[in-house]
């Protein structure tokens, strides 16, 4: 099977993720969409690794996983504390980041 198809898939997943981030209000869903985008990137990296015939892409994919894991830790912690203080998981309720 042509590896380029995986790239199309990665692009599709990335777009779905991005759209989700922008459209959904629920923080958990937004968070999962971010994960989706990261994994779309991972897919693309692996695919590139295959196309170029070296391991660089796979190495970076591992880095991404680590970053994603770290992000999960921090992000979930923020969401939990946000939910505790505001009793809501909607991102629009937390609009304090303005001048």
């Amino acid at each position: 099977m042509n590896p380029v198809n995986y790239l199309y898939l990665a692009a599709l997943l990335f777009t779905i993720g991005a759209a989700g981030v922008l459209i959904r209000r629920n923080a958990i869903v937004v968070f999962m969409c971010v994960e989706l985008m990261l994994n779309a990137c991972n897919l693309a990296f692996v695919c590139f690794s295959r196309l170029h015939g070296n391991l660089d892409g796979q190495v970076i994919a591992f880095f991404t996983m680590v970053v994603a894991a770290a992000e999960v830790v921090v992000g979930l912690a923020i969401i939990v504390s946000l939910f505790r203080s505001r009793h809501s998981a909607s991102v629009d309720d937390a609009s304090l980041m303005k001048l």
């Binding site: 991005a18 981030v21 922008l22 209000r25 937004v30 991102v91 629009d92 937390a94 609009s95 304090l96 980041m97 303005k98 001048l99």
Partner: protein
Amino acid sequence: MDNLIALLIAAPLLGAAVLLCGGRRLDGIGHWLGTLLAGASFVLGAVLFVDMLDRSAGHRTVTKHLFSWVPVEGFQADVGFQLDQLSMTFVLLITGVGTLIHIYSIGYMEHDENRRRFFGYLNLFLAAMLLLVLADNYLLLYVGWEGVGLASYLLIGFWQHKPSAATAAKKAFLVNRVGDMGLSIAIMVMFTTFGSFTFPAVLGGADGASSGRNTAIGLMLLLAACGKSAQVPLQSWLGDAMEGPTPVSALIHAATMVTAGVYLITRSGAVFNAVPDVQTVVVIVGGVTLLFGAIVGCAKDDIKKALAGSTMSQIGYMILATGLGPIGYAFAIMHLVTHGFFKAGLFLGAGSVMHGMNDEVDMRKYGGLRKYMPVTFVTFGLGYLAIIGFPGLSGFFSKDKIIEAAFAKGGTEGWILGAVTLLGAAITAYYMTRVMILTFFGEERWKHAKTPSPDQPSVEPAAETHGAHDEPHPHESPKSMTIPMIVLAFGSVFAGGIFGIGDRFVKWLEPITSFSHGDSPVGQWTVTAATIVCLLVGVGLAIAQYGRGPVPVVAPRGSLLTRAARRDLLQDDFNHVVLVRGGEHLTRSLVYLDHSLVDGVVNGTAASVGGLSGRLRKLQNGFARSYAVSMFGGAVVIIAATLLMRAV
């Protein structure tokens, strides 16, 4: 001997410094000190005069270089003096009349609590005026020139608590400043033309300079002279200057300072001789002022203002004479000196009258005073005869010569000038006779007239210290005032004869002003006869109008010309509308523009930056998703840009 020149100026300057800085503790002796130093200056002048007479005509000029004043690359201004026949004449006039008026002021200002300050200013004036006539270069002359302006400002505004005096002082200084601007520009042109502004360099080089430059220098000097000597169009300040104490009017605004313009033009004769066109302008200015002042003098009921109009007119004669060139310079100066005597005498007489009349200045409220003030009457009368040119008295010799010289100008111009000067003589006779009749003859109108009341302050508040507001009791003035008047009356009678007979004065000045006889189309005796006829006509008219019936205490409305002349021929109204109002509008709109436009542009910039940032702030709405949109948008733009760059 030449060190005395510096001493001549130093004496009154010292007096001014001591009197003005000394404070109240000098109040008791201030006037004596001031008079003494003025007198010392006169004695020094006399010593120098005798010394000068010892030398032959060609070697009479003495110069004294004192110190280097402003030495700058290519620009050298020195403090140095030049005493020649012309300056000598002025020195004697200034210190002589000056000393007399100091003596007069001792009595006149006796009741003024600021008499010390008054004498300080008078001394300051003497010093500045002497500096003016003794300077050996134009820049130093300029110092004296503005110095007398300052002294005049201080003295006109001596009674500062009166708004009218303060305004008059300011006006005098400002109008003079316009003239000073002319002198300043003249010196600049001299510097760029000759690289120097000493008398020898400028006057010696005038022939070598282009006529354009000489014209510029000449016109600017004329402007300066107009300012200082109250000639049209800068004459408006002189009438108001009568707000000052009368001795000031006599010394500064009749005998000496106002004649500085005549000195300036005579001194710069070489420049004017080189450009006949400018001389024509000078003659026109003189001629116009001559008539202008005379007409104003006819209409004024204020004795000092009538005399001020007369001063203007007489100086017009002098300026006209200087405009005639070498045929006129000597006569201008001669008339200046005789005028110094009789006009100072007239003013002192006027002061004496006012002194005795509770400082009333309106001649319509005088009348019949000859019985009460015999000395004043006689001295004033002699001054009167001198000014109208009564044969044998001073004014006759000097004015007659100017009229002759005017005819001698030749051509149509000569006839016009001659006619103007003759007409002027007739008007002079008319208005002076009017003054004489209104003041000393006729019924005693003051007996029923109200004198100045407290709510209508008189022009001269010196006597307000007398506290008298009831009916005046005319009385003769004290000796300190009458003696100077008597001395000046002697001058009015004899000076002309001493100078005029045998052309003594002309010969005395000839080395400086290079005299030349003009070819007069009319004989000398014809002119004299015509002058006497004009005189008689003027006197006759005045007697016909004022001498034969009662004079109304309140001035009748009068003809259009009379009303205009009472308002100084509308010059002030013109100034007010054009300069004062226009200036006010200009400054007000500029103040507004400075705030709204110049400052506004800057503030506007600040406001628009503020507004822009206010708008940009709206983007920071705090919604994480909108931040995400901008991140995505940014990423898309960057990628698109990268791809585009690749493609290109």
